[in-house]
Symmetry: C2
């Protein structure tokens, strides 16, 4: 069986993060960085489509290359700087303020899918303008087996029609609970997920942060908790790490079914539980296979029970 290929579209960026535990200075960030590095823990043959500026360090590019992540789709603009985000988390790490957003190179992002990835099996569209997401779908030579998309409130407010257009073309929408509510005007996540299915995607994942994630398909629901941790150090990238682990697990299995997605949701939660333990991609970078397996066992203990229905 040919290894399934994953194309990841999203940002490769600088983040600067302040939490109650410290601050980072400029570090590697961006949705495509987390998604690809997370997926690479589970499978290979992964490529990124993104845009960076002249100031993006070679060492950061090297982090992808070392992990066999194809960077030929990352365009470097000589006259622009790299997208930069600075944010500060409250003592309650569920809340953060954005201090700086410099769009820079991202304003000129005109994604070009490399020839080698025009027939990718899995397409993961990180949070970007929905028209940009759609242009990537339209560049694919064969329709991917699975197109997953992340988005955010900002595009619901500013690009509703484009968002509705791209949502029709995808298989899985991966969003958080507030976004699901805003998208559907429904409070109940069950009702919201059903409404989203009517918009196009046959599968919906609603992320609830520290409260886990729900997977919906037709009338079926599966729930993966977040691993209860003694300490969350930096939540940045947890959602993208989840998405990367999800798509990586699916690509590894090569099977698209509700059962394979259950496993994929657990694998995504598992990887996300590591990302929050250190700043940025640090924990993901140092993560060993044995650690992943051992924590998977914790997920099994956390959730599996044995009840005989009599």
């Amino acid at each position: 069986m040919r290894m399934s290929q994953i194309l990841v579209v999203g940002t490769v960026a600088f983040d600067e993060i302040i939490t109650p535990f410290g601050e980072t200075g400029k570090i590697l960030g961006g949705s495509a960085s987390y998604i690809s590095m997370s997926a690479a823990k589970l499978t290979s043959d992964i490529g990124i489509v993104s845009v960076i500026g002249h100031d993006f360090p070679k060492e950061y590019m090297q982090k992808f290359i070392e992990r066999n992540i194809d960077v030929s789709g990352i365009e470097q603009l000589e006259n622009e700087k790299t997208f930069y985000w600075k944010g500060k988390y409250h003592n309650d790490l569920n809340k953060r303020d954005t201090l700086v957003t410099e769009v820079n190179a991202l304003a000129h992002f005109n994604p070009k899918v490399p020839k080698d990835f025009e027939n990718a099996d899995f397409l993961m569209l990180g949070n970007l303008h929905p028209a940009v997401q759609q242009s990537v779908i339209e560049q694919m030579q064969t329709r991917p087996k699975m197109i997953a998309l992340d988005t955010m409130n900002f595009w619901m407010d500013t690009a509703w029609d484009e968002l509705m257009s791209v949502i029709k073309m995808i298989d899985i929408l991966i969003i958080n609970e507030e976004e699901a509510r805003q998208l559907t005007k429904e409070y109940s996540l069950v009702t919201a997920a059903h409404k989203i299915q009517e918009m196009g995607p046959k599968f919906v994942i609603i992320k609830k942060g520290e409260h886990g994630a729900l997977l919906f398909h037709e009338k079926k629901i599966f729930f993966a908790p977040a691993l209860p941790l003694e300490e969350v150090f930096d939540p940045t990238g947890a959602g993208d790490t989840f998405a990367g682990g999800f798509i990586g697990s699916l690509a590894k299995s090569g099977v698209i079914s509700f059962d394979s997605m259950k496993k994929a949701v657990i694998c995504g939660s598992n990887l996300a539980s590591f990302t929050v333990e250190k700043f940025g991609t640090e924990r993901l970078e140092s993560l060993e296979n044995d650690e992943i397996k051992s924590r998977l066992q914790e997920f099994i203990s956390l959730t599996q029970f044995d009840i005989e229905i009599v």
Copy 2:
């Protein structure tokens, strides 16, 4: 094997509930009502210790008697009215305001454990003044196999020393997440649960409302989600229903182990998912065995997966 006996101590009261979906007038409420009616879905030989006033209707007493719940420990005070609580839920049903609290008969509650229950196997202490809870423990002729206790922020603010005293005597503390944080001054629920174990109880259950419940024992953690529902109608009594289902399941199995508690937590979540579908105890009263079994199957589908760790 003798059927395990459960003694439930708590309030039997009038509730008046306003939600965005309607209002109830005075209906049957109180922690002991929900706990005992929930436990009675799973096991029998259950008794209540509580206090009511002269205005408590015979029909309400009949609801317990019909379910084989022993009411000989419910004292009726001729010169007092029954405890009465009126509350109004916001559109977000996670928030509510108390409109009226009339303590009435409860101010004179001097619990007397009936002879027949002095050797009960399971003692479930619903939310009450910790000194009242302790007086019940001290009336037991043999130490129950399992003492579970619920409490609330109010007692942490007003009766800290008494609370610490009774907490030393119990096996399981069942509280919600804000209460766990207030009790331990810890934000992380994992750290909070470990601190609570140092206070006495070997088992800790932290209820997170619509986000499920966590069971802790030594270093072990188990998580039971709440069933995702299309509509929550009235959350009143969900926590007590959970506690009743938990203790009922344990009593039915007769086994006290982490595995039997996992099942018990799922059974509690299962019953609580019904209570919130209608006002007060209405749904619990009409609940059929087949409905419980069928929803248990939903819990299994919701949470169980099959991952091979290789």
